[in-house]
Amino acid sequence: MRAFANVRLEDAEVGVHRVLLDAGMTAPIRVETVDLGEGKLKRFPFIKLSEWVQHLLDTDRLSRQMVGVPTIAKMKPVLKEFWTRFRGVNPTHGIFALESEGALSLDTCIPFYSHTDEGRSYKHLPLWILSSHGAIGRGTRSYLASGKHKAPLRRNPMGLNFLGKTWSTNFIFASVLQTVTAECPEAIPELVEQYAADVRMLLYTGIFSRDGQTHVTFAHIGTKGDLPALVRLGSLKRSFYNVPRGPSSKKACQGICHLCLAGREGQDALPFEDVGPGAGWVATIAQSIPWNNTPAILAGLPLSAEDQIKFFNTDLWHNAHLGVVKHFTASAYVAIVESDLGSLPAGSVETKFRWISNIYKAYFRSMRVTPLVSEINRDTLNFPASTASPIGKWSKGSASTEMMMFLDYFCRNYIDGKTADPILVAIDSWLLQFARFGCSLHGHIEIQNYVLYLVDSKPVFFLALAFLRLVQPEL
């Protein structure tokens, strides 16, 4: 109390932190600063990853928080096996050359990913954040419930880094508010350079435990983020921003994807809309670099040009739930409204939407769930006129799931065998196909896992229902 009373009111934040540090209430991590400009930017704060992992090693937490195993002794064979499998899929990765030169030992080399994203902060200004986390971890709930984590090492799938508080497994490097980037455009590149230099040290030098007995190195195996974040981090010149807006343009599009040349127009056109396994763009994966200057995040990493391109990873979950499913469900509801389905009420499009909306609300009421999207109408589907291209207005992955879930219910009760409209039939068979595939993939005993999966990922009631429908047709 006395310590608190002595804190100067003019700068209480710093004083309070000092007291908390003495009391062991705050993590004793050194915050470094970098000069990004005048005023507050003169001493811009960030935390090196090496500081984090040194702290974890000193407090005997490193193997738990970065690899998901209780001790360093147990971590070593796990990492060795990890890198054996990694070599299987990336045989020419530069890390194996380092190992054969004797520069590092793979059984003490911890793989990690970096992540960048922009969140919303005060007054909705975007806040850019760079953080790091171990590639493997404790696993997901459904993974642990199935007992797969107990399998012997050779057969063990190694847990994903999901369980545990995200603030104990993801380590912040720095955050940058948009006002800073406006004042100092070089702020983010400068910070990324600092990050890359530290990461290089962690790979080539590594860290030692206090007693000098344990030596650990770290390998940055990729970076993650949504598409805008990746474009920003890599200054990618081929990205979704290049998608042609009209049937023809003055300048031919060079490509819409940093990984391959899909979307290229002109003589050797490679349409990105071709999404089959034999598409033309498949042969161009990682063949052409998507930047003018090598991105700072890659500095010091032992990667070939091909591995540099593949370093920028795209997120399947994000692309599906916050992308394609929003288009699919919105278009599907519009297709229903525009169809000649017998049960649709006569009248305007609005009347028909109202009818679907009422079924939608009743459905969720019966499930005792309040849906994230309150109703289905022109507004929520961004469909002001029949010439518009519909897309869901929601921005949560779980809203996409609820929409899919209801769509499935609707198809079962109002479309199955009740129409010959080819689009509705396609929508319905889409839902049915996947439920059926789920059975073949999982076997019936795994229903319980679905329930656990709900807890893991929020977005999946729909699936559990679709699944039950096939397993127990009377439902």
Partner: protein, 137 residues
């Protein structure tokens, strides 16, 4: 698609080649049906089922699974590249940032983050979930 995701959630960082190939096929079928819907509506001269770049990025995940399966018994679970947990994580610093003086936001954010970290790490010390893995080690 959701079924594919559920299968991935039940798995670890690595999945067996056969399962990886099944997942890739599932993803391709998802994409093919979407394309069918797009084609059918296009024939009616309507703008529905837009062919967006994210469809292409999803196709990359499937191609990657196939390429890895051609080389190795174990393939990387596409979910290992998801940002889902990180998005949850990003929300926290953003919430903190809305509660501090904007002029000293960056410093305050990091200092407050350290308090949360200390708390989370201590909680994690007593969380034994998943710590009994690898029965032969």
């Amino acid at each position: 698609m959701n079924v594919a995701l559920a299968a991935m959630y039940g798995s670890g960082f690595w999945i067996r080649r056969e399962k990886g190939l099944r997942l890739a096929n599932l993803i391709f079928r998802f994409l093919a049906l979407y394309a069918t819907c797009a084609h059918l509506t296009l024939l009616q001269r309507k703008r529905r089922f837009a062919m967006v770049p994210k469809l292409h990025m999803i196709a990359h995940s499937a191609v990657d699974l196939q390429h890895q399966a051609a080389k190795s018994d174990w393939v990387q679970n596409p979910l290992s590249l998801t940002n889902q947990m990180q998005e949850d994580y990003i929300g926290r610093p953003c919430r903190i940032s809305r509660r501090v003086n904007i002029r000293s936001l960056h410093r305050s954010l990091i200092m407050r983050a350290l308090i949360v970290y200390q708390h989370s790490l201590r909680n994690s010390d007593v969380d034994l979930r998943g710590m009994d893995g690898y029965s032969d080690l």
